[in-house]
């Protein structure tokens, strides 16, 4: 069936918004991971009669799958070259693993404190870089104020990963992206580095501008 015939008649009479998706509106997103299916077992009976969208060609249910990793891959990708992004990230993970094992071998005393799992480190790093607030410019009486505004969880994760990547891309030509990304992730995972500082700066700015907070609603 051609693309156009599937689109035809998608406009909803009530809202007037035209749906550009190939799937009809009553299709639901697939639950790809098996443990997530088991988690939501009670609600799944409702889905018995509802058609499901096809799983995307990047989704899988292996031990290597990780939501944060997949999201970061999307942000690394440039011009649809996701294969390259994948190799870059796996290289960065390899570097992290190498440096951490080196540290583990050099460490004296408690060796349990050194984490060598790159995925865990990435999650820690993102968690450490997440901002709580943001400043937006709001114009009141001809003067623009920097007003602190709370942000959603989704956006906070987006900003954290974006900052990590920005820091990794800001480098000398000789240094490769995986190398720099590995450093940034390691730094951020330990609560140091430029990205965590950037987050702290933002928080400090929000704190300084707390007097303007009421401009958000008045």
């Amino acid at each position: 069936m051609s693309f156009l015939t599937r689109i035809v008649g998608k406009s909803t009479s009530f809202s007037g918004i035209r749906l550009m998706s190939v799937y009809p509106q009553h299709y639901v997103e697939p639950i790809v991971q098996k443990d997530k299916q088991i988690e939501q077992k009670d609600e799944l009976t409702k889905l018995h009669h509802i058609p499901i969208k096809a799983a995307l060609n990047k989704s899988s249910d292996t031990v290597f799958h990780d939501d944060t990793k997949e999201k970061l891959l999307n942000y690394i990708t440039k011009k649809g070259n996701s294969a390259l992004a994948r190799t870059l990230l796996s290289k960065a993970f390899e570097l992290i693993k190498r440096t951490q094992t080196e540290r583990l071998n050099l460490a004296k005393g408690d060796k349990d404190k050194v984490i060598t799992n790159a995925e865990v480190l990435l999650k820690q790093a993102v968690e450490n870089c997440r901002p709580l607030l943001q400043v937006t410019a709001i114009k009141r009486g001809g003067v623009t104020y920097q007003v602190p505004v709370p942000i959603t969880t989704k956006r906070s994760y987006f900003l954290a990963m974006k900052w990590l990547l920005e820091a990794a891309r800001e480098k000398e030509r000789k240094v490769s992206l995986p190398e720099k990304l590995a450093w940034e992730i390691l730094d951020a995972a330990h609560g140091q580095g430029r990205v965590v500082k950037r987050k702290d700066d933002l928080h400090r700015q929000c704190e300084a501008n707390r007097a303007y907070a009421h401009y958000r609603w008045s």
Binding site: M1, S2, F3, R6, S13, F14, V22, Y23, E29, P30, I31, V32, K34, Q37, L44, T45, K46, L47, H48, H49, I50, P51, I52, K53, A54, A55, N57, K58, S59, S60, D61, T62, S82, A83, R86
Partner: protein, 395 residues
């Protein structure tokens, strides 16, 4: 005989006769009630005193039309019976036991048609099906309407709304009384709505024999929802069920094929036409196997990309059949990701024959059994791409 050949309705000339014809007072719904004919409400039933009174012009016109329609339907019926007999003779079957299914078969044999739309193909159906039911007289011979809501224009629909509200009030009263007595609704009898859906608008229109607007349909759904939400909804189950439509179980909709046996005594299933983007594949799965994969004669290294290999193994790993079956695939067209997607779908579809129902449902929920219809979206003129517009500067 109501025969449509190549989409031409032979009885078109008689259409206008039916424009305003027939049927029962508006208080009853349902196909059977609606299908009654107009002649049941005729003048002869009225006493002499009424007969002397003037019969209204509208009534007279209506009666004339109804009679004509009756005659017309009678002849149609007769011709249908004769046609059926002829058809049975032609097919060498017994005319008495010739069913509608046999008729359809005979027509598709005698008038083979390559038309895509089934509605456009030649058909022979009973006149009741060809000429859908219309409303009967809604007024008596003096022109007085039977139904109190006749002047709303949609008496059946508004009566239905009234009925729903009445039921809701009844349930609310019941709830109040039960609360006072300290009783609770029976949890076991709770109305199960997960497999059902309210009648869609077009079907509700058929039941009501009235056309309704979108907003009126939403009024209907809202009031029905309110009725169903009541904790004692099971008390008016019979009423609610009249407007419910059972939903099909999605994972049972497609029949799972039975595996065949090959020369070596292994079970195998072949899925043809596995499509994704512009790739096309056919996939064979053999049980028991050792996890061998061959794609166009090569092994999994046919795909250089890591992601594509992962996609191939995804359904096998998900259904825990990795290493238990052999996969053979022939694939052509498209790029690597499209080809991998096509094979993934083929493997998932074939694996249904070797796993239990629970796993099939699980695979369906994971989106493995859905054919991915998404294609590249075309570029539009006046735009830079499919969605992106050209840079525009006012000055």
């Amino acid at each position: 005989m109501a025969v449509r050949v190549f989409g031409v309705n032979l009885i078109k000339t008689n259409r206008n006769l039916l424009q305003n014809a027939c049927k029962t007072p508006a208080t009853t719904f349902g196909h059977t009630a609606v299908a009654q004919l107009a002649t049941e409400v005729t003048v002869q039933a009225s006493p002499a005193a009424v007969q002397k009174q003037k019969v209204s012009k509208a009534m007279r016109a209506y009666l004339k039309r109804a009679n004509e329609h009756d005659e017309f339907m009678k002849t149609q019926h007769l011709e249908f019976q004769i046609g059926k007999r002829h058809l049975a003779n032609m097919m060498g079957a017994d005319a008495e036991t010739f069913t509608q299914e046999d008729i359809n078969e005979a027509i598709s044999y005698l008038f083979p048609s390559g038309l895509y739309d089934p509605k456009a193909r030649p058909a022979m159906k009973s006149p009741e099906e060809v000429f859908p039911a219309r409303k009967a007289a809604e007024f008596d011979e003096t022109g007085r309407p039977f139904h109190s809501m006749f002047y709303t224009g949609k008496p059946n629909f508004f009566q239905l709304l009234h009925d729903i509200v009445e039921e809701t009030r009844k349930l609310a009263d019941l709830e109040e009384r039960m609360l006072r007595r300290g009783n609770k609704p029976d949890e076991n009898q709770k109305l199960e709505m997960s497999g059902f859906q309210l009648l869609p608008k077009d079907q509700l229109e058929l039941v009501l024999v009235e056309s309704i607007a979108d907003i009126e349909y939403s009024n209907f759904t809202n009031s029905m929802d309110r009725l169903i939400a009541s904790p004692y909804a099971y008390k008016s189950k019979a009423f609610i069920e009249r407007f419910l439509k059972p939903l099909l179980d999605q994972s049972k909709q497609l029949e799972v094929p039975k595996p065949k046996i090959d020369e070596q005594g292994r079970q195998f299933i072949t899925t043809y036409e596995c499509l994704r983007k512009t790739a096309r594949a056919d996939v064979t799965i053999r049980l028991p196997g050792t996890g061998k994969i061959s794609i166009n004669g090569k092994d999994i290294s046919y795909f250089e990309d890591e992601n594509c290999r992962e996609q191939l193994l995804f359904p096998l790993q998900f259904s825990e059949m990795l290493g238990k079956v052999d996969v053979e695939a022939n694939v052509e067209g498209g790029g690597p990701s499209g080809q991998a997607g096509a094979i993934r779908w083929g493997i998932a579809m074939s694996l249904r024959s070797f796993v239990d129902q629970e796993m099939i449902e699980s695979m369906r929920l994971a989106g493995l059994l859905t054919r991915d219809y998404r294609r590249r979206e075309r570029k539009k003129f006046g735009q830079e791409g499919a969605r992106r517009k050209y840079t525009w500067k006012k000055r």
